[in-house]
Amino acid sequence: MNSFTFKGGIHPYEGKKLTMDKPVETYLPKGEMVYPLIQHIGAPAKPLVKKGDSVLAGQKIAEAAGFVSANIHSSVSGTVKGIEPRLTVGGNKVDSIIIESDGKQESVEYQGNDKALDELSSEEILDRIREAGIVGMGGAGFPTHVKLSPKNKDSIDTILVNGSECEPYLTSDYRRMIEEPEKIIEGLRLVLCLFPNASGLIAVENNKPKAIETLKDKIKDTERIQVHVLKTKYPQGAERQLIYANTKRYINSSMLPADARCIVLNIDTVIAVYEAVRLGIPLIDRVVTVTGDAIANPQNYKVLLGTNIQELIDAAGGYRNGEPEKIISGGPMMGKALFSTNTPVVKGSSAILCMQEDQVSASKPSPCIRCGRCVAVCPGRVIPSKLATLAERGKLDEFVKQDGMECCECGCCSYICPAKRHLTQTIAATRKAILASRKK
């Protein structure tokens, strides 16, 4: 049953053994909490609190500024210390609400909802999702209520829950699939209420047999939901490749999944939907894998958003064998290298990866030998070596003509290049520049 896959891709060292058998532990933060007002695509949220206010856990502290934006809630009870620019994982400073926790975790009264599925209206579900500030938790941070309100609502036929977790080292989705399968299934059933003609697919790579078994067992008596077993390969979970693997439909960079009658949701996101709609709990926590060969006790943590990353690293026993050379927020393929660990966990943080050695700085780029490996692995089916050369020479028109904008920046070409060229990096930088100039 390995028919669900795509062409290209790579098999990097998985590193999942470090944490895949470690049950999720809840971590309660000690220090101050930081809530950046940008944790999503779209306009920054507008603060609703000011310095000196006391807040409760689950209280809305910033509200969405426009349709494509998201609310932000406090994850602790305590006092607002101020609103000031703070460093985020992206490396830039973003206005953030700082809250001093009182350690009591007093929360607002959550309004649950246990109506039967057919009594819930679409508005009710979408309202609760919007109110809870849910965004895509795979990293992109697209507001979920927007994603769930496509124009062609009735023609959507597939809701894909992305359980592929193809990034090396990450095990947070895996643990949630094993530990909280009911929440995933109930969350998916709630989403299916919005799309009367759709069926739900939970897509899992075949290197997670336990998760597949658990989910299959739990959906036995559930209508409209199936589990798809995907071939283990990076980037199986990339949106376009995932849609193709499961439905054989193509979308390109100028299309949305809805154009292929699909909606793609992350595991964490679906659970957040469940918690928001059924329990009335806004998005205030997530599961983060703290791992890597430089971490003393690699672990999966349920973490309150706003928790300091250094604190989490210390909770995992700190470093082993001295300071790591590189710390990454996310996985090694698409994660962001951290300039400082004094940054908060946000809605899109899936992992903290600490590596003893940085493989990138250990190798020096040399001339392309035209081996064609980048072409063979590129899931976007472009010619990375050529695009990078065009980008280096500033030939932007030709770059666009050669489908440079179709690159999804998955990193396969840089990974495989024997000449160690920074292909993805060069292409990504040029794409960013072109996109920015288009916006003007």
């Binding site: 439909r249 590189k326 393929m333 660990t341 940085d358 493989q359 040399s366 001339p367 030998i369 990974y415």
Partner: protein
């Protein structure tokens, strides 16, 4: 301290293969053919291999030293060129001709066009053809067991019979590395298993050439002559060319479809050059075909650009 200096954009991991590890793999794959060559032709063959490698590496180092460029002999690509050139030379070739060929390969064909990755022709093959044109007598005098003799392919051409098994094993006259199809195939399998070369090129090359030969024997003599085919496959450096020369990264297409087309073109060209309509050049069909193919690579690539993922996809309402 919680600030880090190692900042770079993703991805943060790299595959262990590097340019030098790939070149080492090619050298390993050439070992069986080199050993058979030295075993067949003795110490002169061994010496010629050493001379070519030393001259290639030396030329690259000297050029880069004099022009104050980064020294790249550590990537072993010059070693590969030297070994490939030696395997393409008759064992009796005077040493200074081999040196001249090596200098031509590295200096003229490789470095003057920008070094590794920039040459538009296979350096070893270009040097072989340069030597053929300059010293055609020395380059086409072959001997086996100290007896000067024609190569099997030349014998085949003049209508004489050949021993296909001996050709397969390599106990015939020829250049140092071309005689044993068996040794070359072992090297080829190693490269394919290690994913150093793409099977498309040798497959399309040998496949299209075989089809041409079979059609030729079918039309010409009314029968499918498999012995004739086997002799053609084992002789004239076809295996050496198809496995090690045509698959040279720099001078072959990088697109998957382009590689198939390139292989087919080489097969047809080799057949045409070896066919009776061409009375000369019997043994050099492979070399000239690949050099011609090298020149066609930019055009082939241009017309075989893969369709990007989702290009032309239609929005479903």
């Amino acid at each position: 301290m919680n600030e880090w200096k190692m900042i770079s954009s993703s991805p943060h991991v790299r595959h262990e293969d590097s340019t030098s590890s790939i070149m080492l793999d090619v050298l390993i794959a050439l070992l069986p053919a080199s050993i058979i060559g030295v075993n067949n032709f003795g110490f002169p063959a061994f010496l010629l291999i050493l001379i070519c490698i030393a001259a290639c590496v030396g030329t690259e180092w000297l050029f880069q030293y004099l022009t104050k460029r980064t020294i790249t002999i550590g990537d072993f690509s010059a070693v590969v060129t030297g070994l490939l050139l030696a395997l393409n030379l008759p064992p009796s070739l005077p040493w200074w001709m081999a040196v001249l060929g090596s200098v031509f390969a590295i200096l003229v064909v490789k470095q003057l066009f920008g070094g590794i990755g920039q040459n538009f022709m296979n350096p070893a093959l270009a040097a072989r053809c340069f030597l053929l044109l300059s010293f055609s007598k020395a380059m086409t005098t072959f001997s086996y067991d100290a007896v000067t003799t024609a190569t099997p392919l030349a014998l085949l051409k003049s209508g004489e019979s050949v021993d296909v098994f001996r050709m397969f094993m390599g106990s015939t006259a020829g250049t140092i590395g071309e005689t044993s199809a068996a040794a070359l195939l072992i090297g080829g399998i190693y490269l394919i298993v290690k994913r150093v070369i793409d099977i498309r090129i040798p497959l399309a090359y040998i496949g299209s050439f075989s089809v041409c030969i079979l059609l030729y024997s079918l039309i010409g003599r009314g029968e499918i002559d498999l012995t004739f085919l086997a002799a053609h496959l084992c002789g004239g450096g076809l295996m050496l060319g198809a496995i090690f020369m045509a698959t040279d990264y720099v001078t072959s297409p990088i697109t998957p479809k382009g590689r198939l087309i390139y292989g087919v073109i080489l097969g047809i060209l080799t057949f045409v050059l070896r066919s009776p309509w061409n009375p000369t050049l019997a043994a050099e069909g492979v070399s000239y075909s690949i050099l011609c193919g090298n020149l066609l690579v930019p055009i082939i690539e241009r017309f075989t650009v893969p369709k990007s993922f989702g290009k032309g996809a239609e929005k479903l309402e």
